[in-house]
């Protein structure tokens, strides 16, 4: 038990929590438990959970390969088209899952929000865990496939964690906006699938940007372009080109999204319990 009252807590209207970040740190165990809960529930029926994390992306990859390679006749250069799409799908799915998770997190945990205090950022942060676990499951299947196709990843593979972080930053930034807006306007729930549907095509999941020089700069405005290109570059040992200015744009936009997302979330979170 704590000895003396460790601090005096003052509650006032519109008081900006001076200890917000310290509080967030103090609630890291809750963050861990919520993340663990989500993962546990998802993988509770182990066979089904894992299968679901695998079947869906594999089918999607096959479909995209067919559409872009056979129907659209896009060039894949020196890489089998299937592999190209597989490596592009990996970061895309990480983003999708993380974005969806974060976007639905606050409304999905409304029973907690209206009954217990904790820094609300814990909720979207903890929702990223499921996406991350799914990503590793998929990665564990992708890497052997890459080897089977005769590609041996090189030192570039070591940079993969940086791109994973980039994916989470973009997903969290966008997710914070969506989740805070969803509390007030429930129909933002329907906007998420819409964004993802468009994103699927303006993100080079099914094609490579270095064969489209005319479009490259325009595509780079989408922060996911730099992400997908980067992951492909890591996994395929540099057989696709990494467009560095594009990556720079991606990082800047990602950070902007995160900063504004946190700002907006913090601004609205104090009203969550009243309107949720």
């Amino acid at each position: 038990m704590d000895a003396a009252p460790e601090h005096e807590l003052v509650i006032e209207a519109n008081r900006t929590e001076r200890h917000y970040w310290r509080d967030l740190w103090r609630y890291r165990e809750l963050l861990g438990f919520l993340a663990w809960r989500d993962v546990k529930v998802r993988y509770k029926q182990a066979a089904l959970g894992v299968a679901w994390a695998v079947i869906q992306p594999v089918v999607q990859t096959l479909l995209l390969t067919f559409v872009f390679s056979k129907l659209a006749g896009m060039q894949s250069g020196n890489v089998p088209y299937f592999l190209l799409v597989l490596c592009g799908n990996l970061p895309w799915l990480l983003f999708t899952n993380a974005f969806n998770g974060a976007g639905n997190s606050v409304v999905g945990n409304s029973h907690l929000i209206s009954k217990v205090y904790f820094p609300r950022l814990v909720v979207p942060l903890s929702s990223l865990a499921v996406a991350l676990v799914d990503f590793f499951v998929l990665l564990a299947i992708t890497l052997p496939l890459i080897l089977i196709f005769g590609f041996v990843p090189d030192w570039r593979l070591l940079l993969l964690p940086l791109f994973v972080a980039l994916a989470l930053v973009i997903a969290l930034g966008a997710g914070l906006w969506i989740t805070a807006l969803t509390v007030k306007y429930r129909d933002f729930r329907f906007i998420t699938p819409f964004i993802l549907q468009i994103g699927m095509f303006v993100t080079p999941v099914g094609y490579r940007t270095d064969v489209l020089p005319n479009w490259r700069d325009l595509l780079a405005l989408n922060p996911l372009t730099g992400l997908v290109d980067g992951v492909r570059w890591c996994l395929l040992g540099g057989r696709t080109e990494l467009y560095v200015p594009g990556l720079g744009v991606s990082v800047v936009i990602a950070l902007l999204l995160l900063l504004t997302g946190v700002w907006f979330f913090r601004r609205t979170e104090r009203k969550f319990a009243d309107i949720i």
Partner: protein, 411 residues
């Protein structure tokens, strides 16, 4: 020990209710915004906004180690006060100073996940209530023993009986060790024996360790038993504060007040049939009430209008407990009614239900077909089991004892 543990000064909370519409979706909001601008330009007016002060200028202090009961009718602001103290929502104005680690228990089993096992939920729920992992691990065995669920520790809680579920939830909650504990009316659920155990545990906690407790309940008996002092809230303000018995007295005296019984606007189809026009909950001498003391007489009057003749018309009254269980129903004998205005009266010599909050449901039907059914309001039944008519021969339960009892020697 000179500084109070809780210092509340000038606390107010305002909710704004906009009458035009609810903006649950973006389209409505945009539409509303457009109309608002149009109205302002065209007429120079805006939509009517109703302000509702859930709390208004509430001030009190609580000393360390004090156990304070908060009582008041529904809508008096008790829950809002607890929500602000728990930092779930923020006040509109005023200030609170809390000195010490706070834990609040506004609900039992917050965050329980049905798919997870009892063991997993203990950790999850503990973390949600603000316990450290090490702390939970240390108290784990004690919690399990308290909940009496050893055998089902690894069963998903969705397979638990509701009793087991509540016991587990309570067990976790009652092992919190904050310096300030805030408890809402969570003891209303769970079986009686376990309630007693929890009350006992809470009492131990506060008496032994000098813990500060704020406790909301409708159960005046448990308030009297647990608390030294009490605060009576009325319409968002402190009505009386001080020694427990005095505040309870003030509460019981002040029960008569304005009625909150209401009737909904009838749907269009009902306008040609029949619909309720007014409901009153009152004492037998006609004073409107939203709270009735255990054992006292009470009456409900339902006025309704029949627009066309209604065969086999029935007006019904139902009481539901806070957890949704139907407790009592009564209906008038079926009667063919000509168009006109009528009043149905439900009278009872003494309320024989235990203290608590009940919803009052009104139903109208004709020829076996339901016309209207609605919750007209909440009824607080207050007081202790053994009050007035009822002798102390009834311990626990929702229905108070009106049996005659005797023991006779055989042969």
């Amino acid at each position: 020990m000179s500084l109070p543990a809780i210092e509340v000064s000038g606390l107010s909370k305002r909710y704004v209710i906009e009458h035009e519409s609810r903006h649950d979706n973006l389209r409505d909001t945009l539409h509303h915004a457009a109309r608002k601008i149009w109205r302002r330009v065209r007429w120079g007016t805006t939509f009517e906004k109703e302000e509702f002060w859930a709390l208004r200028d509430v001030s009190f202090t609580v000393q360390p180690g004090e156990v304070v009961g908060i009582i008041g009718r529904n809508g008096a602001g008790k829950s809002t006060l607890l929500k602000i103290l728990s930092r779930i929502t923020e006040p509109t104005s005023g200030q609170i100073k809390l000195r010490g680690r706070v834990a609040s228990l506004l609900e039992v089993g917050t965050g329980f996940h049905p798919e997870l096992s009892g063991r997993e939920n203990i950790f999850l729920n503990g973390a949600i209530l603000g316990m450290r992992r090490a702390e939970i691990r240390r108290k784990f065995d004690e919690i399990v023993a308290f909940a009496e669920i050893e055998k089902f520790l690894d069963t998903p809680v969705k397979r638990y009986s509701s009793g087991m579920y509540v016991r587990l939830a309570f067990a976790v909650a009652s092992h919190l060790e904050p310096e300030i504990l805030i408890v809402d009316e969570v003891l209303a659920v769970g079986d009686a024996a376990f309630q007693k155990k929890c009350l006992g545990k809470m009492q131990d906690v506060s008496r032994a360790d000098g813990r500060t407790v704020l406790f909301v309940s409708h159960n005046l008996a448990s308030i009297r038993e647990l608390c030294d002092t009490a605060i009576l809230l009325e319409a968002g303000s402190v009505h009386t504060a001080g020694p427990c018995y005095r505040v309870i007295e003030a509460y019981q005296h002040g029960l008569a007040g304005t009625t909150t019984a209401s009737v909904p606007k009838p749907e269009a189809v009902l306008l040609e049939k029949a619909y309720a026009t007014g409901v009153e909950i009152e004492t037998l001498d006609g004073r409107p009430q939203t709270a009735v003391s255990v054992g006292q007489p009470w009456r409900v009057r339902v006025r309704f209008h029949t627009a066309s003749s209604q065969p086999a018309f029935v007006a019904a009254l139902g009481l539901k407990s806070i957890d949704g269980t139907s407790v009592q129903t009564a209906w008038t004998p079926p009667r063919d009614l000509a168009p006109g205005d009528y009043e149905a009266i439900f009278e009872q010599d003494r309320v024989h239900l235990a203290a608590g909050t009940y919803s009052v449901i009104i139903g109208l039907s004709s020829g076996d077909r339901g016309l209207q059914q609605f919750e007209t309001g909440r009824l607080d039944i207050v007081g202790e089991g053994a009050q007035g008519f009822f002798p102390r021969t009834s311990g626990v339960g929702m229905v108070l004892n009106s049996m005659t009892m005797s023991v006779a020697r055989l042969s």
